[in-house]
């Protein structure tokens, strides 16, 4: 979906780079192998201050469950803490930046989950922008950017697909 503003009222926030890269898979990267401890810490944080479910942190117990071992919760992010930091896409820049179109927010997402992530898994991601629209909102002239991201494990099995909305204003 692409909606252009009226030329005599608002300058577009759509960049030539966005137009050139629309539909093109990019930002491919591979995360380090998932560690049991990564999953444990993740669950402690997201369940805080309650104790997370046992099958996320007790390997012996997890063997007795339907999963047959520890699995990560579906929202687990194995890409946290990269050594190299790629440039942040414009649609994800800080909300504190000055100037119209330089402030960004996460508008939302829909994740569909495939096989679960397990300790030792190596996850690879790729993303692409699929479209955008612009309209007046309470934030001012606002650009909504739509994209999708795909995660696969070392066996090329789909772990997750995400359809996301980025907001710039």
């Amino acid at each position: 979906m692409t909606t252009q503003p009226q030329a005599d009222t608002q300058p577009t926030l759509v960049t030539q780079e966005m137009i050139d890269k629309k539909g093109v898979w990019e930002q491919e990267s591979t995360a380090p192998p998932i560690a049991e401890s990564d999953i444990r810490k993740w669950c402690i944080a997201t369940y805080w201050p309650e104790k997370p479910p046992r099958h996320y942190w007790d390997a012996e117990y997890a063997k007795t469950t339907a999963w047959g071992g520890i699995v990560a919760p579906p929202d687990f992010n194995p890409f946290a803490w990269p050594i190299d930091r790629p440039p942040v896409p414009a649609s994800r820049q800080s909300a504190t930046a000055a100037g119209a179109g330089q402030r960004g927010m996460n508008g939302g997402q829909v994740d569909t989950f495939g096989v679960p992530m397990r300790p030792g898994d190596v996850i690879t991601t790729r993303s692409r922008t699929t479209g955008w629209e612009e309209r007046q909102t309470r934030l001012g002239w606002t650009l909504f950017t739509y994209g999708e991201t795909e995660w696969r494990n070392q066996n090329n099995e789909v772990v997750k697909t995400r359809v996301r909305t980025g907001i710039r204003f």
């Binding site: 997201t46 339907a66 803490w81 909300a95 504190t96 402030r103 508008g107 997402q109 909305t165």
Partner: protein, 143 residues
């Protein structure tokens, strides 16, 4: 072991409420695991610069985690979350008490799976809906 079975679910059923008080203790822990050190979540001045008068505010991704956790705790470790989606409509302010709500909107067998569809939200202590969304879970059968 699953906590609920497909046959026991009816359209209109609500999932158990799942609540957390959120402040820097929860936000900083989430920042630490998700590597999400962004000034708007750490510093009141940065939050106000981002047009939130009350200062720093919580991460959308943490509210998303709360949606996932509430579903997991409802269905149990023997069932599966197939899909979760949400929009971040309102800000998570410091000291908010957030409660995840969910209501069953449909149930059907698709692709050989017993799927249950839900409308989801994260509601603050004022009753404001901050994070409307949907979810699909796959439940075991008693048969």
């Amino acid at each position: 072991m699953a906590n609920v079975y497909f046959e026991d679910i009816n359209v209109g059923d609500s999932i158990p409420a799942w609540s957390r008080k959120t402040d820097f203790m929860s936000w900083n822990r989430y920042a630490a695991v998700n590597d999400e050190f962004v000034y708007i979540h750490m510093d009141d001045e940065a939050g106000r610069a981002a047009l939130n008068e009350q200062g720093a505010f919580g991460m959308g991704n943490l509210r998303y985690a709360y949606l996932v956790n509430s579903l997991h705790d409802w269905i149990g470790e023997g069932a599966r979350i197939h899909e979760v989606g949400c929009q971040f409509r309102a800000i998570n302010q410091k000291n908010d008490v957030l409660t995840v709500t969910g209501k069953v909107t449909d149930k059907k067998v698709e692709n050989g799976e017993n799927r249950v569809y839900l409308d989801m939200n994260v509601v603050n202590q004022k009753g404001e809906a901050t994070c409307p969304g949907t979810a699909i879970v796959v439940l075991p059968s008693k048969k």
